[in-house]
Amino acid sequence: MVENIVLGIGLTAMAGALATVAGAAEDTESDIGSQGDPNSQVQLAPQMGYVHRIFNKAIAGEPPAYGLWVALGAGITGALLAMGVNVILALIIGAVLTTLVQGVYATTAYLGRIASLAKFGQPVYVDILKSMTTVTMAHAFIAIFTTVAMCYLMNAALGHPFPLALLGVVWGIALGAAGSATGNPFYGKERQYQNQKFGAGVPVAASGNIVRYAEAGERNSLDNGWFTSKLGGPASGVCFGLIVFLELWRTVVFEQTWVWAPIFVGLILVIVFAILDRYIETWARATYGPYVKEASS
C-alpha cells in the first residue's frame, strides 16, 4: 500500500507538472490569438478608428475551444492505443493531428473576424496570418500534448474510471477556464492598454484605444505573446497545475485511510486559499491605498 501511495504521489507530481506547462502554453497561445475576453478590444479598435496588426481568432471562448481540442487529441490517442500503438507515439500523433485542426480553426477564425471589419478600413494582413498561425499552433501543440498526457496518467496509472476522451473534455474545459480567468486581465489591461496608467483599471472612455505600435514598427501578436509569457502565462500554469495537483494529491494520499479524508483535506485547502486571498486583498488595500481620500456618496 505504501509503495502504491509513493507511486501515486510521483504520478500526481508529474501530472501537476504537465498541467503547469499546459496552463502556461494555453494562456500564451490564447493571448497570441486574442482568444480570451480581450478579443473584444481587438475587434472594437478598428470601429473606433484604430486599425491594427493584432491577430484575432476568437470565435469560441477558451474553455469550449480547449474542451474540443483536448477531447479530440485524447480521442485520437485513445483510438491509437486501442490499435496497439506505442503510448508516446499515440500521444504525439493525437496532439499533432489536433494541432492541424487548431490551425484550420485559427486561419478561418482570423479571416472571418477581420474580414467583418472591412467596412471600418481594417485590412486582412496575409503576413500576419502566415506568421501568427504557426506560432499559435506550436503553443497549442504543447498545451494539447501535455494535457492529453496528463489525462493518460489519470486514466491508465491512477485508475480514474473516465475514458481518455471524456477526461479530455473535463480537463480541456477546466484548462481553458483557469487560463482565461488568470491570464486575460494581464493581456487585456497590462498589454493592450499599456498606454494607460499602471495600477488602475482602464476607463471605459478609453475602450478601443489599444496600443498599436511597438519599439520598432507596428505591434503584432508575437510581441503580445512575448510580453504575456513573462507573467500571465506562467501564472495561469501555476493556477492550473495547482488545481490538478491538489485534486489528485488529496485523493491519492488520503483515500486509503478514510473515505471522508480527501473531502476534509479539500475543505481545509479551500480555507487555506481563502486566508491567502484575504491576505492578498488586505495587503493591496494597505500598500496601494485608496484612489480618492474619502468616499463620496
Partner: protein, 284 residues
C-alpha cells in the same frame, strides 16, 4: 462618485412561461412514475432534476466579469459565466466520479461531497489567482461596483475603485461566492452522474439493451454514458443560468442574484426533459 448599480432588469417571474414549464416537468415526472413506478429509475429522474437545479442556482454565485474584467473595468473573473461554472463543475465531477469508482462503493454522500469539494477547490484556487494577477501584476486592489461595503468583511469599496471603472478584482464576498458556486456546481453534476450510474445504467439494464453476454463488459460503457450525460446536462444548465444572468455578475451581493428563482425553475424543467432522454435510452 456614486455607486450606481446597473438596472437589475427582469427580476420578476413570467408566470405564464413558468407555469408551462412546470406543467411540462410535472407531466414528465408523472409519466415516469406511470412507466417505472416508485423504482430506482424514477428516483434517478428526481435526482437529475435536483442536480440540475443545484447547478442553475450555483452558477449565480460565481463572480464573472467577462470582457470588462479583462480590462480592469468591472469586478469579477475575466471569462464567461457558463465557461467558468463548467470548468469548476466538471473538475468537481472528476473527483466525484473517482470516488464513485471506489470498491466498496462509499455511498452517495461521499461521492457527492467529493464532487462538491472538488468544484469548490478549483474555484478557490482560480479566484485567488485572479487577485494575485490584479494585485501583484497590475497593482490594482479589489473593489466592488455594486455595494459600498463588502457584506462579509465590512471593507469599504467605493474609494478603491479607479476612475471611470465599475470596480475590479475580486472582493472577499466574490471569492466566497465563487467557492459556493463551485461547491453547488460540483454537487449537482456529481449527483446527476451518480444517479445515472447507480440507478439507470446498471449492469442488467445495459446488458439487456446492448445484448452483452458478460456483465463486466458493460461497466466502462456505463461510466462513459453517465459521464457524457452528466457533462451534457451540466452545460445545458450552466448555459441556461448564464442566459438568466445576462452577461456579468459579481456574486451573491449583486442585484442580479435575485433572479435565481427563475433559473432554478428553468433548469429543473430542462433537466427533466434531458433526464428522461438519458433514462429512456436504456430503461424504455
Amino acid at each position: 462618485m456614486t455607486v450606481t448599480p446597473k438596472p437589475a432588469g427582469g427580476v420578476g417571474m413570467d408566470w405564464t412561461s413558468m407555469g408551462i414549464g412546470i406543467l411540462i416537468m410535472i407531466a414528465i415526472i408523472g409519466g415516469a412514475y406511470i412507466m417505472f413506478g416508485a423504482t430506482s429509475v424514477f428516483y434517478a429522474l428526481i435526482g437529475i432534476i435536483v442536480g440540475g437545479a443545484l447547478i442553475g442556482f450555483g452558477v449565480h454565485f460565481v463572480p464573472v466579469g467577462g470582457a470588462p474584467a479583462a480590462m480592469g473595468q468591472a469586478p469579477g473573473i475575466a471569462t464567461g459565466v457558463a465557461m467558468l461554472a463548467g470548468g469548476a463543475g466538471l473538475a468537481g465531477l472528476f473527483g466525484g466520479a473517482w470516488a464513485a469508482a471506489m470498491v466498496p462503493s462509499p455511498g452517495i454522500w461521499v461521492v457527492c461531497m467529493a464532487g462538491a469539494v472538488g468544484g469548490a477547490l478549483m474555484m478557490a484556487i482560480t479566484c485567488m489567482f485572479v487577485n494575485v494577477i490584479y494585485v501583484y501584476a497590475m497593482g490594482i486592489p479589489a473593489a466592488s461596483g455594486k455595494v459600498k461595503t463588502d457584506p462579509i468583511t465590512g471593507d469599504t469599496q467605493t474609494e478603491y475603485k479607479s476612475q471611470g471603472t465599475e470596480g475590479h478584482g475580486l472582493p472577499f464576498v466574490s471569492f466566497v461566492g465563487g467557492v459556493i458556486g463551485g461547491f453547488l456546481g460540483g454537487l449537482g453534476g456529481t449527483l446527476i452522474y451518480y444517479m445515472l450510474l447507480e440507478n439507470v445504467y446498471t449492469d442488467k439494464a445495459l446488458s439487456d439493451a446492448l445484448g452483452a453476454s458478460a456483465l463486466a463488459n458493460v461497466t466502462p460503457i456505463a461510466v462513459s454514458l453517465a459521464g457524457m450525460f452528466a457533462i451534457g446536462l451540466f452545460l445545458v444548465n450552466a448555459v441556461l443560468a448564464a442566459y438568466n444572468i445576462t452577461g456579468t455578475i459579481e456574486g451573491p451581493h449583486d442585484p442580479k442574484f435575485a433572479r435565481w428563482p427563475r433559473a432554478v425553475v428553468a433548469t429543473a424543467v430542462a433537466s427533466a426533459v434531458c433526464g428522461i432522454v438519458a433514462i429512456g435510452i436504456v430503461a424504455v
